[in-house]
Symmetry: C2
């Protein structure tokens, strides 16, 4: 059901870039070093507090960006009007096609601080220019997939629906949040476009405005059941949650008389522990044991864990804003750093931001199916375990494509193969070791840095 | 220089909507209440901790969404395949044009909890359908303009540049962040597309990768100065900040010999208080009193205030991720609620989320140029002070358009007309009064609610 010819997935404008990528490009061209082969490494330095791991995501969109990046004549005309660029560089942009190689960790893979999620090897001017949006694409979906995985962990198999679209940071973010949360294990999304673009199941209930648009709550419930006799989740908290639930039971009985059944009820406010128990009891007494008690309203993994820990009787959660903007950790400290120039490994020493030099590989060592440790080393030979970075683009053409279901299944396996302590909401650090060869190189370079 | 024909500003897909807007629409049409006139009110319930006010923004994009919203045949075909919709409703979508009226607070206006930023009056099916994206558009830019205004407050007139694009939640968010931060008083942005779309000045320096791409830091600085002899801000922290500054002085002297001058240096790591003082001293001793000391790296209003309070010698700030994702307050508790249906005011009573009924107006009462209090009342007559909501769309056509510079100037005046305590980073609450007529209506309706 996925369908990817809609506007959301068209390439971004070539101008969607930090100005300095272009002014550095002007200088690289002027100094005749623009075509030297450079490798940049994309990684995050730390995980948000209490996160034991992240799930890599966003690669498909990053590769599409690289394949589609072009500069239109009117964009070049704008750049010329800025007065910052000469004809030689603008001609380089006019014929711009990303021509490089990309190695990356497949989407859905668990990743840890300082491990490259992606490495770009290309002429310096190209590899530099793509920094802004490759970072942007990988950052957003990795952030959200990782945040959403925590709700999956907390919900313990209960239904999870992405409700975030109204407060994500733009509509583009909304659809990418739907994709990333589905990768992480969410069951469905309220975002209809994401349903069409990515083939994600779509779901929804009703708003308070719907209930208020009828002369009474009962009439509203009956009207909705007429349109959706097998698929109605009735919102019961507009006036009084327990009264609303009794009205839902009335409608469920009327549905049963015509061979249909009430799907469930939704709570969106109040003390969800107490109310869900009261609602569950009313439904059960009416013989509606299979009707879903669905909850929403300011939820993320913390509230889900607290609710379930306190004995809430909830079978499904609508998780919105706090997941969609990753509210308690709205960004990762993700960077894209030059690590090699024409075979010369490079590093920076900036306080607190020192980098590891050279193109790299990450080997994941598993014991009895459980990830034991990772080894972060140079991409120059063999380590033990499974190498995580694979070639995904060659000569500017993607050689990597996976169905979203494959990525989602990988994410599930990856989560399940992590040590329990790392998976937990209060996640423990995972053991990432730096190969002695890489560490030695770093020390030699640091000693000789200009 | 603004130029708005690029893809970013094309309308979102009609499918970018929460599913329930559509299933409710199916039912409204089936029940023959779809064309009843409804008014929805958009507001936020609370401000983030320590925020005294918000700046309204995003109206231009919300109006464009309303004007451009259409359903393409392939989108209708997708909806049909879901099995959730009948031919009558799909036909209603096929000819969909938003036909309603919108009243709104102009962008750049200071706004407070429970005050409508926007009210939509339209046939119920239309006013309901646009909920998701009208909220999304107003939410993002109001959030970011409000967050960015705090950096403007903290920086006390120093240069502020938006550096957020690489970690905003998507490229669309990146450009809207540039716009919103410019509205709030930022001077420029690194986002080149935002420069083209909105006519915002663009700015940038250089990356560590640039410095590392040359045999030495000095050679890198000389190369950049060759391309940008009057516009070079040299990044001095790649290896050692004070040594880097001395090399920048060398380049400044060489520039001076040919009649040019060094624009400044950038610090991006380390103890910015100590380093900025050391850097400033080196520059001043070399007679470069007018060279800018520019700082970046994890900054927002809190760090800016701390740095300046501790005596940092910094003349400009690059403010990135923490502003661009509004890191300590990444969402507002913003809602879009039905308040009137065919002249009948409505409300919901949900615990903690009760609404005020009826179409509204906000009157701002000023004394000696300072905002004294607001009065929130029904849109049925006259209050004292300046009415904030104005008609911006009639019969589905925008009747409102302002240059971005006008909005930015309004934001400046609005900030300056707030009481000092409300403007402060630790902002005090502002006095918003509910008109007795509105409060009485709410009480009568609550007593009679079904």
């Amino acid at each position: 059901m996925a369908d990817s010819d809609t506007p959301l997935t068209r390439p971004h404008s070539g101008l969607l870039v930090d100005l300095y990528e272009l002014t550095m490009g002007e200088s690289y061209v002027a100094e005749e070093i623009a075509e030297r082969e450079a490798t940049f490494s994309l990684f995050f330095r730390t995980l948000p507090e209490s996160w034991g791991y992240a799930l890599a995501a966003g690669l498909e969109d990053a590769l599409r960006y690289l394949e589609d990046l072009r500069f239109a004549e009117e964009e070049l005309a704008y750049l010329e009007r800025t007065g910052l660029f000469g004809a030689t560089f603008l001609d380089r942009l006019r014929s711009f096609r990303f021509s490089g190689r990309v190695r990356a960790v497949p989407e859905g893979t668990a990743v840890f601080p300082n491990e490259p999620l992606l490495e770009v090897t290309a002429p310096l001017v190209e590899a530099q220019l793509v920094e802004t949006m490759v970072l942007n694409e990988i950052h957003l979906q990795t952030l959200v997939a990782s945040k959403a995985a925590r709700s999956v962990e907390a919900a313990g198999g209960r239904l999870l629906v992405d409700f975030s679209l109204r407060r994500t940071h733009g509509g583009e973010a909304g659809s990418k949040v739907s994709r990333a949360s589905y990768v992480a294990g969410f069951d469905s999304t309220s975002n209809v476009l994401a349903g069409r673009l990515y083939g994600i199941p779509i779901a929804g209930t009703m708003a308070h405005s719907y209930v208020e648009s009828f002369p009474s709550e009962l009439e509203a419930f009956r009207a909705f059941a007429r349109s959706y006799p097998d698929n109605a989740i009735l919102l019961v908290d507009t006036y009084d949650t327990l009264e609303g639930t009794r009205r839902a039971v009335t409608v469920a009985r009327e549905l049963a008389e015509t061979g249909h059944r009430l799907r469930g009820v939704r709570l969106d406010s109040g003390d969800l522990v107490e109310l869900s128990r009261g609602v569950r009891a009313i439904l059960d007494e009416a013989g509606l044991e299979d009707a879903l008690v669905f909850a929403s309203g300011g939820l993320d993994e913390h509230e889900i864990a607290d609710l379930l820990g306190a004995g809430a009787q909830i079978g499904g959660f609508g998780v919105g804003t706090k997941m969609g903007v990753s509210a308690d950790a709205p960004f990762l400290d993700m960077a894209y750093k030059l690590v090699d120039l024409e075979g010369r490994p490079v590093l920076k020493l900036s306080a607190g931001k020192a980098t590891l030099p050279g193109a790299k590989q990450v080997w994941r060592v598993r014991r009895d199916g459980v990830a034991a440790h990772d080894l972060l080393g140079l991409d120059d030979g063999h380590g033990d375990g499974e190498p995580l970075l694979r070639e995904v683009m060659r000569d500017g053409r993607s050689v990597w494509s996976e169905p979203l279901t494959t990525i989602r299944e990988r994410a599930r396996r990856e989560r399940e193969s992590l040590p329990e302590a790392v998976r937990a909401l209060d996640g423990a650090p995972y053991d990432v070791r730096v190969d002695p060869g890489l560490e030695g190189l770093r020390e030699r370079l640091a000693a000789g840095a200009r």
